[in-house]
Symmetry: C2
Amino acid sequence: MPDPSTRSTEIAGTPLDPGELRQVDLYWRAANYLSAGQIYLLDNPLLREPLAPEHIKPRLLGHWGTTPGLNFVYAHLSRQVRRRGTEMMWIVGPGHGGPAAVATAWLDGTYSEIYPRVSRDAEGMRRLFRQFSFPGGVPSHAAPETPGSIHEGGELGYALSHAYGAAFDNPSLVVAAVVGDGEAETGPLAGSWSSTRFLDPVRDGAVLPILHLNGYKIAGPTVLARIPESDLVALLEGHGHRPYLVSGDDPETMHRQMAATLDTALDEIDAIRTRAREEGVTGPFRWPMIVLRSPKGWTGPAEVDGEPVAGTWRSHQVPLPGVRENADHLRQLEEWLRGYRPEELFDDDGRPRPEVVAQVPRGDRRISASPHANGGRLLTDLALPDFRDYAVDVPAPGADTAEPTRVLGGFLRDVITANPRTFRVMGPDETASNRLDAMFDATGRTWEAATLPTDRGLAPDGRVMEVLSEHLCQGWLEGYLLTGRHGLLNSYEAFVHIVDSMFNQHAKWLKVARTLPWRKPVASLNYLLSSHVWRQDHNGFSHQDPGFLDHVVNKKAEVVRVYLPPDANTLLSMADHCLRSRDYVNVIVSGKQPSLNLLPMDAAIEHCARGLGVLDWASSDEGGHPDVVLACAGDVPTLEALAAADLLRRHLPDLRVRLVNVVDLMRLQPDSEHPHGLSDRDYDALFTVDRPVVFAFHGYPALIHRLAYRRAGHANLHVRGYKEEGTTTTPFDMVMMNDLDRFHLVMDVIDRVPGLADRAADLRRHMEEERRRCRAHTREHGEDAPDIRDWTWPHRG
Amino acid sequence: MPDPSTRSTEIAGTPLDPGELRQVDLYWRAANYLSAGQIYLLDNPLLREPLAPEHIKPRLLGHWGTTPGLNFVYAHLSRQVRRRGTEMMWIVGPGHGGPAAVATAWLDGTYSEIYPRVSRDAEGMRRLFRQFSFPGGVPSHAAPETPGSIHEGGELGYALSHAYGAAFDNPSLVVAAVVGDGEAETGPLAGSWSSTRFLDPVRDGAVLPILHLNGYKIAGPTVLARIPESDLVALLEGHGHRPYLVSGDDPETMHRQMAATLDTALDEIDAIRTRAREEGVTGPFRWPMIVLRSPKGWTGPAEVDGEPVAGTWRSHQVPLPGVRENADHLRQLEEWLRGYRPEELFDDDGRPRPEVVAQVPRGDRRISASPHANGGRLLTDLALPDFRDYAVDVPAPGADTAEPTRVLGGFLRDVITANPRTFRVMGPDETASNRLDAMFDATGRTWEAATLPTDRGLAPDGRVMEVLSEHLCQGWLEGYLLTGRHGLLNSYEAFVHIVDSMFNQHAKWLKVARTLPWRKPVASLNYLLSSHVWRQDHNGFSHQDPGFLDHVVNKKAEVVRVYLPPDANTLLSMADHCLRSRDYVNVIVSGKQPSLNLLPMDAAIEHCARGLGVLDWASSDEGGHPDVVLACAGDVPTLEALAAADLLRRHLPDLRVRLVNVVDLMRLQPDSEHPHGLSDRDYDALFTVDRPVVFAFHGYPALIHRLAYRRAGHANLHVRGYKEEGTTTTPFDMVMMNDLDRFHLVMDVIDRVPGLADRAADLRRHMEEERRRCRAHTREHGEDAPDIRDWTWPHRG
């Protein structure tokens, strides 16, 4: 590795005059002091007395390593905002960057405006220090509690995708995204560099990545800090960037380099905007970015107990771990803290001196106060066309079919038209496959790279974003939503597990954000899982997994919603509902294949509002107490349940069957567990407490048991669903492999209704034969038997 | 984008003579014919009769687009193996590459050796065609059923990490990894290019990435195919490669280019090996790779219904979709298939003519027959030291503490020493943080990039692989295991969700592989989740998620195992068990923080063998029928349950409490559901059918209900666990936030044992006060109250 000090960048930006140099350095020193103070000090925040063990926190839990570099970046970004009037927000990618984000927000005044208890004075500083990583206090990562952040810095990998999501459709915004070199090793981050190929310089803002190479992770070096510098530059150029290098450890030199470099980068962004917006130049544009190579734990202790610390991984957490017990460490800490000369930084009342905060921008221009980072402040309702206008006609329930997502596509097309700047649809290359292609009548696929004459429907400002990365889709959408816009992610059901962990973090973000009055509600994160477990006819076993629903319901009940509309009209109604909602994660599962139209629109709306209900026309209990309840959730299970009800009606006409369809899965939980939960009384009235319930479910059967285990009738509940059996086969063969088929449901009813086993023994044998017949037909012809393929609900009367 | 035809690579490899050209082209044509046949033909495999609709499959479900390029690659790889004697395997990254992998294996003879019914003759060809994407047949992706594959090609993103995993510690192997340009957009793939920085040219084999730019995903262009070529080259150079470009569409030219390029690349690999192994040269080495730019759907129909097809996204699936109904499509298909001149390729019996297979290597050298791709064939048992030798001394149960993972580290250190070429430990930078650092006494961290004098413990052949990418860790390990070696992945519990989807695919692979007699068992995939939900003292809410256990148990019971050893000795016993096991996914959750030593080694072994059991010394039922069962699973819940039992013993000495600890979570399921499941009789004997069971659980409470809902006593089961409440706080505050603490467990017992509510009302109030006391102490002092911090199980007698 070349010596960092030899590689300063020769660039043309405006140099710092001595006054500016002093200002930016004062701000940086103050932020560093406030950061180290957060990690260590329980009291004596201004070091008015000699430092004593009782001033030190009993558990030292912070991370110093990344902090001074972040403060350095913030000081310079802030200065440029003040100078140039740039509208800017920042993303703190590095883990444990909390001390920097909080320190700078406090210096800016933003923190005390939001949390008046943590005032911008000595007492506030004491509280600021104490609360950090302290029980009941604030996290060590950038988090919902952190002003100016849309980014939870705990799990790494999403700094760039969040930044791009924020920049889309915000043409005057610059999003500075600090990427740690640890984070840069993650797959999601590595994949998100290609976002340059999706950013429209006309309609979108700019992202300025700042790759912060401080060289170490927890316990060892990072890859990007140790590859040949020519490789690093090539890599970043390959991603469409022009990288500028700022490296060294001497503060004055570094300030000069950073100021000039940032100036140049922002000039280039302005130039790209001018060329694209005023001169009509099209790309590819080479977007500037910065590589900042600074020592880990910069300005902290150089050596502790004879080992080098600053500039090594030993700075990752707490450089002086033994200050409460070890007098030498305590002395070193005091020297270190006093080295920032707090008396120059803060006045007698503990307020930042005017010179320290002279470069802080005003009001909402402060990066820590950016309204984009509290997107609910900017959120406007979507202009939604009336979803009823897209309804399919249902002259008789179940008599004919539609492709639900194709119907939804028409609605979404007009949502796009009506909201040309505030609504995007993300998905990994499956929009047309998921039959949402009506949207392409109104917009194109976002595309900034080269095009060929044979291409169709690519556009720099397309509202549909397709990239074969669920991570990027989700990260973009999160960034877009958290800055006050709306959207939808469509994905294969099995592969949405790729973003399980991102979902976790977003759900956690929402849970915390809902408790912070200053964070205004944002649009919900909407998933549409369309190519689902039951219809992977040509993809087979690898594509069969309905477990995302299980994953989702582990998160806090007030945040998560799961919907399984059984037909096109219920899908429209649910989609409209989800697009209007706030601060939730909504998961909608709906097939793209032709499926029965069950409910006219009015009935569909009512059914969705209730969340579950009896399909009277498919039931034979005539409103009385049934012999058996056939329940279903999901389009394919509903089809099988209907077919089973029909078989029962024909073969056992005196059996009273009640068919219950569940759209809103959360209704199955008790009302004590989930806001949508049904009261025990209502649940018992619907499912009975004493009759067998045969439940045909879209997902893993255990999920239904888990939701309903407290119900009185739970012992009578028998669930069929996906039991991890699958392959490349026909739709009906798939349900047979998992015993979810109509014939098996009839057998389940016969086995469970008292007295039926004898009376219906012939029917049960017949059902077995039907299964064999269907299996044989499929094995022979490669498709389902015609009576299965073409089955519709019989017209009544 | 430049015209592909203008960019042939000038390289120095050996040119093809006319005979070689003819051979490789014959092989390619035959593979293409066999691939198209798989997609379309139900019968008439050799086109001995004019093609008629009844010869066509009723459901056309294959994917043509990627196939001819894959066949082209395979033909050339195979030729080089024959020529050079290289030991080679390949990874088929592109989705739906099944037809190519199967066609080439059939041509090689491998397929018929494994599946004799699919013989290498006309009848076998008919079966080969019919079975593809046909009910009961074979998948359209490379899959466990595919000879020569260790890679499930359904979910994309892992081609390179699997390839590197295969190459580690296989010094004579070359792994050719075909990466599709769709897959290249995924985060995990993008992140895995950095594997070059972890490959030791001395101890490891080589990976030859072949980036196949056919330009399109399902419905649009791919990023890497459309960025400026200079950016593409820079990107790949940035990853440490020397990229060679092969591009065009004229077969003869392309054959010549590919032959010479491959020759050059393999020469360079040989040269690197020589320099590293014989001359002692150290890196960085610039590893060769190939960019193959060929038309999507190459050699397929150029135009269908007036739209261009070959060379566009319209070739992605079935280029002629209407052959059964549309006479024009049928005619086009026949022309297309006959264009390969099957009569030149296959003899009268349907066998490949000698000239077609003249270049196929012999026996195990055939790429499709590589023993590395059926790793169980090469697997040897680990040499395991006696884990009893690492036991902690337990003079009295619960009287003192150890850090379980630190104890395990000593055992793993000696496993490494005893198995220097067949065992690796992967983890995202947390090995030392997880206190497994004894391993570093025996080995280093794998590191091929630059080093500095201040570095510690980096080594090119280190057995511990750390990279801040769970995807890369998991992909490497999967590749390593599937090629017949052993390993362990350690991770933060919350962030193992990052690889949820990879786990799914591996579990699915194992489920299918177990049904294939020719696939020999491989070592289990072992997860050690150490920094778990309850001890995220300084990381807080973002790091708190125990849901991986829920995720895992959705997969087939015969494949998944979950262990929660409560102390150091049980951890040692479980780890030994897992390292000896085959074809499972084992998940071990064990804390790294000091926790009570509960069981002497003999008792620990017995407890682990049973999977669960009564801790007599902590129970007060004296072997009789208890008033209440206190159950626990996980180290922190066990501590709280023990403390609760102690409180009950002291305050309610006549209450008969049975304390049951669960190590093997699967024991809770009925034996009908899981091979480890306890019979109802044994379960009922342990948990009773009529007494309240208060269960303190490591994860989300719903998981216990889900496993135990069929048990007779389920209505009496009350579970405490993580309920998604957390923050940066002390360990005891965390359990209090989730009502899992000892005081709350006592309250739960009081609330549930009949008659106790009145008798123990004072105690219940006292417990509430204790909670308030502890909370106040924590808020005031930032640490747990001393009596909580220092609690150990009371010595008896």
